[in-house]
């Protein structure tokens, strides 16, 4: 018998850590080589990890929602090959193309991974001079003060890194608050067992607080949104658009569509974007702020913000410039279906050069969309409504809709933003111009 360790492989994209989205085995399970054992989530998609060995699962190093460093121990397997075989950690190659594992969502609330600061019996200052009090391991570790230096030997630091533990969150029971191997031991143990908190029956109406770990796709979204919002100075332009004509066109096209998919407004807006790119190429770009470069692609790859059960995903309508309206409708339908079923591939979720976001009938009169980094612009579609419009002599009912477009003000000036929004307004109000050859 030999214990084999499977480590979290490099899942590409230059990431140094990945979040565990799913654990597909439990201790005692028998697995065969190449069986899926876990799924981890990167920025873009969920990547399935397969077993490099056959044997019995004896140890699991992660739990759903936990972030592990690339190279950390993920799972240990007792294999039935010749005795005495040396333990040899193995990072398994990632299957390419990676597919989104089933049932990533709903994400279970993760168990707490850091020791809870249970009553700190030893709250007084301990000095190294006083004879050390024997401490029950981990039972009474005072919480580490925010920002206090992390004290741990290199071996402990390495072990924490391999186990995906952020030592800044760990309190140390050692002298001067040093984090010991024993502290890590109990942390790993806790992570394995989960902690059941005893509730007091003395209090008549205890306040209950449900703490739900922000994990999985939701955490990814949270991180990306705050990153985009913090690093990109947004400028948002809201404009009113008369969509009476384009709505009429859409209805007509649908009447004669035959067995082609039903058109929503989305493909028409995508077509308008393709047209607008000709005169406003700057808006369709990707900003690599590490390299201080802006990349302009000749293609129009449109991100379509899509609501799924687990949260927002942005599949990409690639080469919109090469598709007709029904072609776009078909592709958009296929992509949103893939997202809803968690089947979208990594490359279907990346590479867009502009994004459309729409809340449909919920879409309010104006929104402030957050740019889908590294793009430099996002087009928000608001709610359509019939409103009275003054045509010079009388009020007439018109179907109106506001668009809210946000731009990366580092590279898009207000002028260019306004010119682009005006162009979109003209195209959407006079749909024939979308299909006109200049």
């Amino acid at each position: 018998m030999a214990i084999r360790t499977i480590r979290l492989p490099d899942v590409g994209e230059g990431v140094t850590e990945a979040e565990v989205a799913e654990i597909l085995v439990k201790p005692g399970d028998l697995v065969r080589e190449d069986d899926p054992i876990a799924a981890v989530m990167t920025d873009k998609a969920t990547v399935e990890i397969t077993s490099a060995y056959s044997g019995k699962v004896v140890w699991i190093g992660g739990e759903v929602g936990k972030t592990l460093a690339i190279g950390s121990d993920l799972i240990r397997i007792e294999d039935d090959t010749a005795a005495g075989a040396e333990e040899e950690p193995k990072a398994v190659p990632v299957a390419e193309p990676a597919t989104v594992a089933q049932s990533v969502t709903p994400v279970e609330p993760a168990k707490q991974t850091t020791p809870s600061p249970i009553s700190a019996v030893d709250s007084g200052t301990r000095t190294a001079v006083s004879s050390p009090q024997p401490m029950p391991p981990n039972a009474a570790i005072p919480p580490r003060a925010e920002g206090a230096p992390v004290l741990a030997s290199p071996a402990v630091r390495q072990r924490a890194r391999d186990g995906g533990i952020d030592l800044r969150q760990v309190s140390g029971s050692g002298p001067a608050g040093r984090i010991t191997h024993a502290d890590l031991d109990s942390l790993f143990q806790q992570a394995g067992q989960g902690g059941g908190a005893a509730t007091s029956s003395l209090q008549p109406q205890p306040e209950t607080v449900e703490t739900v770990k922000v994990a999985g796709l939701r955490r990814m979204i949270a991180r990306r949104m705050s990153e985009a919002n913090a690093s990109i100075p947004h400028i948002t332009v809201v404009e009113e658009v008369d969509v009476t004509e384009i709505e009429a066109l859409r209805v007509k096209l649908n009447e004669t569509r035959g067995d082609r998919p039903k058109l929503t407004l989305l493909p028409l807006i995508a077509a308008a974007l393709v047209k607008a790119k000709q005169s406003n190429p700057k808006i369709f770009a990707r900003y690599d702020d590490e390299a201080d470069e802006v990349q302009y692609s000749s293609a129009v790859h449109i991100g379509i913000a899509t609501m799924t059960d687990g949260g927002l995903m942005v599949p990409v309508l690639r080469h919109a410039e090469a598709l007709d309206l029904f072609g776009m409708a078909t592709e958009i339908g296929r992509l949103s279906e893939a997202c809803r079923k968690n089947k979208a591939k990594r490359e279907e979720l990346s590479g867009s050069t502009i994004t459309i976001t729409s809340l449909g009938p919920l879409g309010a009169i104006a929104t402030t969309p957050i740019i889908n980094k590294p793009e430099v612009a996002i087009l928000g579609i608001n709610r359509m409504a019939v409103r009275p419009s003054w045509n010079g002599t009388a009020f007439v009912p018109r179907t109106m809709m506001n668009i809210s477009a946000s731009f990366d003000h580092r590279v898009i000036d207000g002028w260019d933003a306004a010119v682009f929004v005006q162009k979109m307004k003209v195209l959407l109000e006079t749909p024939a111009m979308i299909f006109m050859k200049d």
Partner: protein, 464 residues
């Protein structure tokens, strides 16, 4: 024109570059290292190793000469002591050859390909190397800049002739009668002290109010005392204004007073700067931090796939820092390791007495707002120091009073450089005074003073 491609391309085979290349090779990455001179860089060829060789030779000569003058307390007698400096330098060059040859062997063993020539960056993925056989273009996925540093020149004292940088000073074949050292940092003091022991009349000129300005005066005091005993003239607050090579006279201003000082040779050691010129760095427009390349904790620059290590990345410019960084970038390139998380980079001045520091000096520790304790133990009370005839100096521990956590360790004393490892280990392990005090230190060694200092800090000193 030849074309090569690889995963990792390292420019510069100093301690930073060669360690990065060896580790990258061991990790299975196809690696090429480019070096215009000899493997080993500044450290092995013209820095750490040659200077320590010279310092050792000077000390041996000095000890024998002292004996010949009838000054040996040990009762050693000898006569007619001379040194053949050309032979000393040849011996030093032999050590350098052995070590640089060793590095070449290690690179080869790790499967690293070496290209000899001057590298110029074309873009973040391409480097052109001028070799003896023409230009070789090398394309790579990861680029590591490890071109090291070179001495800073004083405009009024351009290098050449009798104005030496450390490089020339380490290869003189005769001991100059008079030597002026401009700059009282560790490099100037190390070489200056060696020449003083070899018989030169040495003067040191430092612009700041005291020598070794980055350390406190308590630490440098034993060094100053020893320099005086060796007959070295130490001038502080002294600005050198120029050199008259016909007269071999150095012009120095101290306050409003200008004096002249005889100097057959002038050694200028006013600092080092990153060697980044003519490297094609403007092609990359990397974020800088002053004169240095800015890197993150994994050695990555502002451009993806471009790393920088060693002296080009800033202070402290030390070989062991470069080596540690070299290992980190190699690991980073394969997604291993967590980046720089070292608590201490020890630094040693091989002056006489030697000076070693790790972690925080007392004032630096107080600046963190902690309740700081300082325990100092003199070498005078150490048996080993007395048997070595060198009771000057002390060991000092800076600690956090409430917890006993050791924040910094310093020592000054003959042979104290060997304490650097213990100091760094204590800090890296987050040792408290109790840890050090409870560790048995062998008797009789200089290391016992570290244990004694810890006991003092705990208020339990045995031998004080």
């Amino acid at each position: 024109m030849t074309d090569l491609s690889c995963n990792v391309l390292v420019i510069g085979a100093g301690p930073g570059g060669y360690v990065a290349a060896i580790r990258a090779g061991q990790l299975g990455l196809e690696t090429i290292i480019v070096e215009q001179k000899a493997h080993g860089g500044t450290c092995l060829n013209i820095g750490c190793i040659p200077s320590k060789a010279l310092i050792h030779a000077a000390q041996e000569f000095f000890a024998v000469r002292e004996a010949s003058g009838g000054h040996s307390k040990l009762g050693i007698r000898t006569s007619d002591v001379r040194i053949d400096l050309a032979k000393t330098v040849a011996w030093k060059d032999g050590i350098v050859r052995q070590l640089t040859g060793g590095v070449s062997g290690l690179l080869k063993k790790a499967g690293v390909r070496s290209v000899q020539g001057r590298a110029r960056i074309v873009d973040g993925k391409t480097v052109a190397v001028e070799t003896a056989d023409g230009v070789v273009r090398i394309s790579c996925r990861n680029l590591v800049i490890a071109t090291g540093s070179r001495p800073v020149e004083v405009p009024s004292l351009p290098f050449g002739g009798n104005i030496l940088s450390s490089t020339e000073a380490l290869s003189l074949t005769a001991v100059p009668e008079t030597l002026a050292v401009v700059g009282g940092g560790y490099i100037g003091l190390e070489i200056g002290t060696a020449y003083a022991k070899l018989g030169a009349k040495v003067s040191i000129f430092e612009a700041k109010p005291h020598i070794l300005p980055q350390y406190d005066e308590e630490l440098s005091r034993p060094v100053v005392a020893r320099l005086k005993a060796l007959g070295v003239a130490v001038h502080v607050n002294a600005m050198v204004e120029g050199y008259d090579s016909d007269q071999s006279m150095l012009r120095v201003r101290t306050g409003s007073e200008v004096t002249e000082s005889a100097a057959e040779k002038v050694l200028v050691t006013v600092g080092r700067q990153p060697a980044l010129e003519d490297l094609g760095l403007d092609q990359l427009r990397l974020d800088m931090e002053g004169r240095f390349i800015r890197t993150d904790t994994r050695g990555q620059t502002s451009m993806r796939g471009v790393y920088a290590i060693g002296d080009v990345t800033g202070e402290p410019m030390l070989a062991h820092r470069a080596m540690a960084q070299g290992e980190i970038v190699a690991d980073a390139m394969v997604g291993h390791g967590g980046g720089w998380d070292k608590r201490a980079i020890p630094a040693v001045c091989f002056t006489d007495p030697e000076l070693v520091v790790a972690g925080l000096l007392p004032d630096q520790a107080r600046d963190t707002g902690r309740d700081v304790g300082v325990a100092t133990y003199p070498l005078q009370a150490n048996g080993r120091a007395l048997t070595l005839e060198r009771p000057d100096g002390f060991v000092r521990i800076v600690f956090d009073k409430p917890s006993g956590l050791v924040l910094g360790l310093q020592a000054v004393g003959a042979g104290c450089s060997e304490l650097a490892g213990e100091f760094a280990l204590a800090l890296e392990m987050c040792a408290t005074l109790t840890d050090i005090a409870a560790t048995i230190h062998a008797h009789p060694t200089l290391g016992e003073t570290v244990q004694e200092a810890a006991l003092m800090g705990l208020g339990k000193a045995l031998h004080a």
